[in-house]
């Protein structure tokens, strides 16, 4: 019978069906970072357990690392304590750690693919909801909590309920100035922030197949923002060529490719639900509210509360109150104070290239604080080799070291007071960027660049011609 990639990979990794009815799933790749793992190591120690397959776990630091100076000890004593905890835990337990002294350090969802750790057909877990990013390679990848990190460390398995599959087909060609970030923001706006609960999203169609790997990652990254814990794309030649030659890619690469081709969804595989969207109808998207589903096309108006479904009205009212924006007003022209290019959604080299194209030869608008935070040390080096750091600096952007930075502001990079930020990250929740009253507008990196230059939300399509 024709099967989806999801079913093939899930079945292959099923160890047993538990009494509860959940499946016990073998986890092929486990990634950890400093924020959600220390308590899991503590639980292991309390129970006298060790790591069953230490070679299947990899660690890095990203959330708390300062991006201006990474000199140790960190000025923030709590951050320093967390840093030491992950250093000690990985050393004692025999886990490979890409720390600040490694030239592979970076945001966990950036370095996994970059190092070739992320591969098609794997199950991948990490104590971070954006683990769905790795699904871009045709892996089943999902975020877990700290007690589940303990389970993976102890048993290399998890107790999981099998979701259904919803295929989202995007056919046609994207217009100039429209990126994969816009595709996923549009999908979430249409299906809702909880529309994906209980589903794994399979992204398919000619527009998806035409995307490079980095763009595919941005889409899968945000499936969780639509409620789907898993998002994936069937692997193809683009996937294999991306992986070829990476440090942790399989040595017998051709054998691997043969297996990987076999795990893609079969033609005619049935799915529980199917949604289709025309790529040509997608505009650059901007969020106006307090969840990623509160998004409109840049040429559009923010919705009137009364026009929304009853379910959405209360959230929208709270959103307008928090954001200080007017219902029915155009989103374009909304002033901004800060521009942030970074995060596991959009901090890869292709993101920086697209933003640099917009920025080159221009200046950041007076009064706007703008920063670029590469997703990893490798991205940083590549950008410097291409001279992109200079393009950004010349325009008045701050150029930083790798980390999560202002995506969630656990390091010193934060919004102040009610500042409004054009951000290439993935969450516009109240308080997300470090100030309880701060305000976030999500958009593609090119759109953030355009906003930085104009000092307000602008249509990048009019700035790159």
């Amino acid at each position: 019978m024709a099967q989806t990639l999801f079913d093939k990979v899930w079945d292959m990794h099923t160890v047993a069906t538990l009494d509860s009815g959940q499946d016990q799933l073998f986890i092929g790749l486990h990634l950890i970072h400093e924020v959600t793992s220390p308590q899991a190591f503590q639980m292991l120690r309390e129970r006298g357990l060790s790591i069953l397959y230490p070679e299947r776990t990899f660690a890095t630091v990203d959330h708390i690392v300062p991006t201006d100076s990474q000199a140790r000890p960190f000025k923030d004593a709590l951050a320093e304590e967390m840093m030491q905890a992950i250093e000690d835990n990985t050393r004692e337990m025999g886990v490979k750690f890409f720390g600040l002294d490694s030239d592979s350090q970076g945001i966990v969802h950036v370095i996994g693919p970059e190092l070739g750790l992320t591969q098609p057909g794997m199950t991948i877990a990490c104590g971070d909801s954006h683990t769905s990013t790795h699904g871009a390679f045709g892996a089943i990848a999902f975020g877990i909590g700290t007690s589940q990190i303990r389970d993976v460390l102890a048993s290399q398995t998890l107790a999981m309920s099998r979701p259904k599959v919803r295929r989202i087909t995007i056919d046609g060609a994207l217009n100039a100035g429209v990126y994969s970030k816009d595709i996923i923001l549009r999908i979430i706006a249409e299906l809702g922030v909880n529309g994906g609960i209980g589903y794994a999203y399979e992204f398919a169609g000619s527009a998806i197949e035409a995307l490079e790997m980095e763009a595919r990652m941005s889409i899968c990254n945000m499936s969780i923002e639509g409620g789907a814990r898993v998002g994936y794309i069937n692997p193809d030649d683009t996937t294999f060529e991306y992986l070829r030659g990476r440090p942790y890619a399989p040595k017998n690469f051709d054998d691997a490719v043969r297996v990987w081709r076999g795990i893609a969804s079969d033609a005619g595989a049935e799915v529980a639900d199917h949604v289709a969207l025309d790529a040509g109808s997608i505009e650059p998207m901007v969020t106006w509210g307090i969840n990623p589903g509160h998004a409109v096309g840049v040429s559009g108006e923010m919705p009137r509360v009364a026009d929304l479904s009853e379910d959405e009205q209360e959230g929208a009212r709270l959103a307008y109150q928090h954001m200080g924006l007017g219902e029915g007003d155009p989103i374009r022209g909304t002033s901004i104070d800060v521009a942030f290019i970074g995060s596991c959604t959009n901090s890869r080299i292709s993101d920086l290239r697209e933003a640099a194209k917009v920025v080159r030869g221009h200046r950041v608008a007076p009064g706007v604080r703008a920063l670029v935070v590469p997703g990893s040390k490798q991205v940083l080096r590549q950008a410097v080799d291409e001279g992109l750091d200079q393009v950004f600096r010349d325009a008045g952007f701050e150029w930083r070291d790798a980390g999560c930075s202002m995506c969630l502001a656990m390091n010193p990079d934060k919004l102040e007071g009610r500042e409004r930020c054009a951000s290439s990250s993935n969450r516009n929740f109240i308080g997300r960027q470090g100030s309880p009253t701060g305000r976030t507008l999500l958009m593609s990196p090119a759109m953030v660049a355009a906003a930085a230059l104009k000092g307000e939300v602008a249509d990048v399509r009019e700035m790159t011609s």
Binding site: M12, A16, P38, D128, G145, T146, A154, A256
Partner: protein, 201 residues
Amino acid sequence: MSKAIQKITGTGVPVRGNDIDTDRVIPARFMKCITFEGLGQYAFYDVRFEADGSLKDHPFNDERYAGASILIVNKNFGCGSSREHAPQALQKFGVSAVVGESFAEIFSGNCTVMGIPAVTADAEAIESIMAAVESDPRGEITIDLDAQAVTVGRSRIATSMPSPQRLALLNGTWDSTSVLLENRALIEATARAIPYPNNFA
């Protein structure tokens, strides 16, 4: 093996609103810690406290709900970040069960492995529970996982919960590590049968 959880009784606290994300349950800056101890004081921090530390209007600050152990919420509660710090903060604050219209998946999964039942009921039922608690905050609420019902005063409301989570709580297998490790031989057999751990040989 963890303890079997069949019934939870206590008073309630309603926190109204859809799509309450885990950043709101516990802001990221309070996650700079290497243990979960002490997180209770930060539950809902930014919606409970002004910048100067004075109290905002929030059910968790309301004396009438002091000592409540059953949290009542609306739709898609716990969306966003996978941080277990969110249910940990709630638990340390005193919450031992959550009743809502729906939950984000990672959140309800995190609750289950911590032994916190997260049960759902339809919108109308949730509204009636919230209204009952608001009018009588000292009234007792009982969540019965076996009977799949919540009792509030004299009314009994049907609830549901994904069967695996319910069984894990009822059987006392919600603390999953030991259950998973029982299948060690099968784990090893599976690892041997998957292509990539064996270099695609």
